[in-house]
């Protein structure tokens, strides 16, 4: 690329950050992109959210690698924007700043007893089994036979499936070693998935629900007496996906359990009971309005809340508390109902945690269209500010944590995994990632 006319900083190297970079670089407007990431490793939720037993989804990283190879792209890892450097400093150095910071905080459901110890956020468990450095030191109590997951979406299915798979079903995945070890000792055999609405309103995808039909040691089940009589009726819609999900749930309701483990779907969580630690989760049966209520108590000391996520607020950026995202209008950040010029957002930190990986592509394209419209009207950054910023970051870690450093970390992880027949064995601490980049960097 010849000297770029414009420079844009993107904060967060997950899918929407990469897709925003791609759209900016493809626009042929002389834009160079620096993609900032808090960790030394890229890919966001593709690395730390997608379940380890879904390797095909992770192949999307090949697309991100192609984007990283585009002229004008630079990866700046190991920088926590808002802590290590301020948004104000970024704004001085770039024409535009795009926040693609995702939704890292779990939401609460607002039920009595929710704060009891033993009630955990599903996102913490997901981060833990995927080897996220922030979650690696968490501990979960798998000594009871029963666990409860609150929520009827695909993350809830991931949590239940990882809890119910046998060690042999997980051993050849890129699950973190500490998680494999702890889950191999787990005594959990029954997982109860409790959602608020009926079978026709779950957010499961049929394919992921169907996976429960294929587990080695687990039968999925639905107790028909939990549900209103017409719970599985399709209605008039043509939605094939929903129809397939309903058919699967109906099939589960007729299934005779023969295997050692079970996954049961229920409705309408009511409360959690216990002293300091949760002892039981209560749900309502046969949820027909006006009908006599019957409540069921499931004794458990392990509950996962999977009822949505929200964006972590950043110092200096207005926050939309009701939507749980950076305050924005169509991707342009807002402050006191006015556009905050030069600041943008895309992905989950723009629209909340919905859709699949590719939804973020459309979302990022939409934000980038706005940036391209605005570019000429944005003030030019201070000359030399970017170079000072990026070199000061490199000095902090003793090695520039750029995309070449990631490639070194990546190869080392793959080599570590190979020994155990895994696609990779992730480094689960930032220090180990940095040390790997530094050692190999010198050796090269």
């Amino acid at each position: 690329m010849t000297t770029p006319q414009y420079r844009v900083a993107i904060v967060g190297a997950g899918p929407s950050g990469f897709y925003a970079a791609e759209a900016l670089l493809r626009a042929q407007k002389g834009v160079a992109v620096d993609l900032f990431e808090r960790l030394p490793v890229p890919y966001g939720l593709v690395r730390f959210g997608v379940a380890p037993d879904h390797p095909k989804l992770k192949q999307v990283t090949a697309v991100f690698d192609r984007i990283a190879a585009m002229p004008g792209f630079r990866f700046v890892g190991g920088v926590d924007v808002g802590t290590d450097i301020s948004i104000a400093a970024l704004r001085r150095a770039y024409h535009a700043v795009v926040l693609a910071t995702g939704a890292s905080l779990g939401r609460e459901i607002g039920l009595p007893g929710e704060k009891l110890a033993g009630n955990r956020q599903a996102s913490d468990f997901v981060g833990w089994y995927n080897g996220h450095p922030d979650h690696r030191d968490l501990a979960f109590d798998f000594s009871g036979e029963r666990a409860v997951v609150i929520g009827h979406g695909n993350v809830a299915l991931d949590v239940a499936r990882i809890l119910l798979k046998t060690p042999d079903e997980l051993r050849r995945t890129d699950i973190a070693a500490h998680a494999l070890e702890a889950l191999a000792e787990s005594r959990v055999r029954d997982v109860h998935l409790i959602g608020r609405r009926g079978p026709s309103e779950t957010r499961f995808s049929a394919k992921e629900l169907g996976e429960f039909d294929t587990l080695t040691a687990c039968d999925p089940g639905v107790d028909p007496s939990d549900l209103p009589a017409d719970a599985f009726s399709h209605g008039d819609g043509f939605d094939i996906e929903r129809k397939a999900s309903l058919d699967l749930l109906e099939r589960f309701s007729r299934r005779v359990a023969t295997k050692e483990r079970r996954c049961l779907f229920h409705l309408e969580p009511v409360c959690f009971e216990g002293g300091e630690v949760v002892q039981s989760a209560v749900f309502r049966r046969n949820c027909v309005e006006g009908a006599a209520e019957e409540c069921i108590r499931i004794d458990t000391k392990l509950v996962f809340l999977s009822v949505g996520r929200r964006t972590s607020p950043i110092e200096g950026i207005a926050y939309d508390g009701s939507r749980g995202v950076h305050a924005n209008r169509g991707g342009r950040l807002m402050v006191h109902d006015r556009i905050d010029h030069g600041l943008y957002t895309c992905g989950w930190s723009k629209r909340g945690p919905q859709g699949t990986i590719g939804t973020n592509r459309a979302c990022a394209l939409d934000t980038v269209e706005k940036i391209l419209v605005d570019l000429d009207s944005l003030p030019s950054p201070e000359p030399g500010a970017i170079d000072r910023l990026v070199s000061s970051i490199g000095r902090r870690h003793g090695v520039p944590l750029d995309f070449d450093a990631w490639r070194i970390i990546d190869s080392a992880e793959v080599a570590r995994g190979c020994v155990n027949g895994k696609p990779r064995e992730k480094f689960v601490s930032v220090d180990d990632m940095v040390a790997t980049a530094r050692e190999r960097g010198i050796a090269c």
Binding site: P15, K56, L57, K58, Q59, V60, A62, V63, S205, A206, K207, G210, F238, D239, I240, E241, A244, G355, T356, I357, G358, T359, N360, R361, A362, L365
Partner: protein
Amino acid sequence: MTYVVTDQCTGCRYTECVTVCPVECFHLDDEMTYIDPENCIDCGGCVPACPVGAIQASCLLAPEQQKWIEINRRRAAETPVITSRLAPLPGADERKKALGL
């Protein structure tokens, strides 16, 4: 397992699928779009994006629709990749309305 475009796309070709595909695995000809099964990562994002419900998981296809698995594979190899949305075919909105969608 992969996802496939069925003949429900023919006559509309909205190409909404293309905007949400994370791996640019859609191809097209004058009639409809096709999914390259070699590149599709099974995310399923295109299924709800299609305004006429033309895309399905191959494992959920009715027996008479199974042929679309092979057609998608063959036509994806013969046709160019499409990376951004195009205008729908003339008459697409009328067809969609006639389908009651």
